[in-house]
Amino acid sequence: MRVPATTVLATDANSSPWHFWTYFMDHRSDDLRYLWDHVYLSLLPVVVGLIISLPLGFIARRYRWSYPPIISITGLLYTIPSIALFVIVPPLFGLKSLDPKQVPIALTIYSVALLVRVVADGLASVSEETLLAASAMGFGRMRRLLSVELPIAAPVIAAGLRVATVSNVSLVAVAGTIGMDNLGRLFDEGIQLSTPTPYYPPIVLGIVLCVLLALAFDGIIVLGTRLLTPWRRVAR
């Protein structure tokens, strides 16, 4: 593992939490790399998770008997502590420890846990009359799903995507503590630099960047949903 360059600075630099900006400017290239890793590690699992959840959620909705088992099993996945999941993924998927695929796979599992339910519930939010009318007008099953059911389910699914994305931003950071590159590394460095006296700047920087990232993702999803569902904004 690289020795953080800050070790030298730690003694003379101001250790006040408010000096995170100075810390950032001093370690710009590392920090930007962490940020980028954090971005893709947060987003990729949500995208893959959604792709896996769409058929699962569709099945849970289409065959009513399958809803309880599918929802409880995927829901249970979310109760596995994240650190344990990161550790157990490599043997389960035949990867080496600290394989770059380890974190995205674990987070995809969490995303599926969150998204299967919202896909099923989103599809269930389409009224019976709408489905009946669509079939009666000659929509085939696939066409009805793509051009009627999914667009109407979109707001519910988008709400689930917000939760999954924001929760991923914080879960990725946990992976930093087992040595994967992302904003979580800043917490690791902060802890290492805190002996003998506490040294806060990297920790505060990590928190600030995580919060900003989560806010940015959330904003983008909200904005995208608003643009895609103009019908939701009309007065009722």
């Binding site: 009224s127 009359e129 009318a133 007008m137 109407i152 019908w231 009309v234 009722r236």
Partner: protein, 388 residues
């Protein structure tokens, strides 16, 4: 024409929803399926476009066996209107209307232009085109539903309680406009309702069904009222049958009495001079009746002003000249002066008629009907006597 040939729908649990139904809904007419819940009327309707597959029997559209047409193709050629409109909440009104043309891959621009025409046709201003269904009232959504069903100009329309979920005033408006529209379009319509009054008002023919999916009677509304096939139909058709049947009897040429009407704005004193037994009919500038004025109740001091709308009694209904005996009788019975107001087809005043005169007409007509019924019964008895 929609023809059911001994169509049965039996569910796996053994319930029979429709029991060997034989019916022919003629082209260009409204055939209403009516009955209590569980009588299989909606199931019958949905078997026409194969939303439900019959267990046995066949359904023909003209001479085409529906079982031999691909369901989605079949459905694109059949308009469908349901109770809560079933509009797509994520599409604008105009795109909702153009749904089937879009499915048929017609030119989008043309389809939208046609959709706008249809909106106007069902009584919605073009300003509604770009709104979403959630911005419309229930009655307006129902109109869009009808426009959507008409969009691809299908010869056949299926309507499943389309007017049941709106309030009575709007329902009546929609029913009247639907009849006007049908008068212009002449579609072959299968219409489901649980409301016998709606069935009698809208149907050219009415199929009364009973629980268990059996056809109880298939007849014109007038026949249904005057000769219910059995106790179930009689009970279902309900009270006031005699009175309601008058709604199918044309009044013919009633002998009208003249009436010295006054116009709005004329002095009350003139009105008092014209009054007959204390009441005078008030019309507007175009001689359209506005209401009755009770001059008998006004003393000399109150007669100084002029005739204004707020003085009028609006209790009386108007009967059109070409209307039914029921309308004429109702006009007479509801009129505060006892003189029923008859209007020309353009709405202008034609004359008045008393209840006793209408009753004479009714009695005269009933005598004819009774004689006919006796002759029929005699012929039937003779026929069965021969076969026995």
């Amino acid at each position: 024409m929609i023809r059911f040939e001994s169509v049965t729908k039996r569910y796996p649990d053994g319930t029979v929803a429709v029991d060997s139904l034989d019916i022919e809904a003629p082209s260009g007419e409204i055939t209403v399926f009516v009955g209590p819940s569980g009588c299989g009327k909606t199931t019958s309707l949905r078997m026409i476009n194969r939303m439900i597959e019959p267990t046995s029997g066949r359904i023909f559209l003209d001479d085409r066996d529906t079982a031999k047409v691909k369901p989605s193709e079949l459905r694109r050629g059949i308009g469908y209107v349901i109770q809560h409109s079933g509009l797509f909440p994520h599409r604008t009104v105009v795109d909702n209307v153009a749904t089937v043309p879009f499915l048929l891959r017609q030119d989008k621009k043309k389809a939208r232009a046609h959709a706008l025409e249809l909106l106007e046709r069902v009584g919605l201003p073009a300003a509604f085109a770009d709104r979403y269904p959630a911005q419309l009232s229930g009655g307006q959504q129902q109109r869009v539903g009808v426009a959507r069903a008409l969009a691809a100009d299908p010869p056949i329309m299926l309507m499943d309680e389309p007017f049941s979920a709106v309030d009575p005033v709007v329902r009546e408006q929609l029913q009247n406009e639907f009849l006007r529209l049908q008068g212009e379009l002449g579609k072959t319509i299968a219409f489901v309702t649980h409301d016998i009054d709606e069935a009698i008002k809208l149907g050219d023919r009415v199929a009364v069904m009973r629980v268990g999916g059996k056809l109880a009677q298939f007849a014109t509304p007038a026949e249904l009222l005057s000769r219910p096939a059995d106790a179930f139909v009689a009970g279902f058709v309900g009270r006031d049958r005699g009175y309601r049947a008058l709604g199918f009897a044309e009044a013919g040429a009633l002998s009208l009495s003249g009436e010295k009407a006054v116009a709005l704005g004329e002095p009350l004193r003139t009105a008092a001079d014209q009054a007959d037994e204390g009441w005078v009919l008030v019309v507007d500038g175009e001689r359209k009746p506005q209401g009755w004025l009770a001059v008998g109740g006004l003393d000399d001091g109150a007669l100084s002003g002029e005739v204004t709308p707020d003085l009028l009694n609006l209790g009386g209904t108007l009967a059109p000249e070409s209307g039914t005996l029921r309308e004429a009788l109702d006009a007479a019975l509801s009129s505060p002066s006892g003189r029923g107001v008859i209007v020309h087809d353009d709405g202008t005043f034609a004359g008045t008629v008393g209840a006793s005169h209408v009753l004479e007409r009714i009695e005269h007509r009933a005598a004819g009907v009774r004689k006919q019924a006796l002759d029929d019964a005699g012929a039937e008895a003779a026929a069965s006597g021969r076969t026995a």
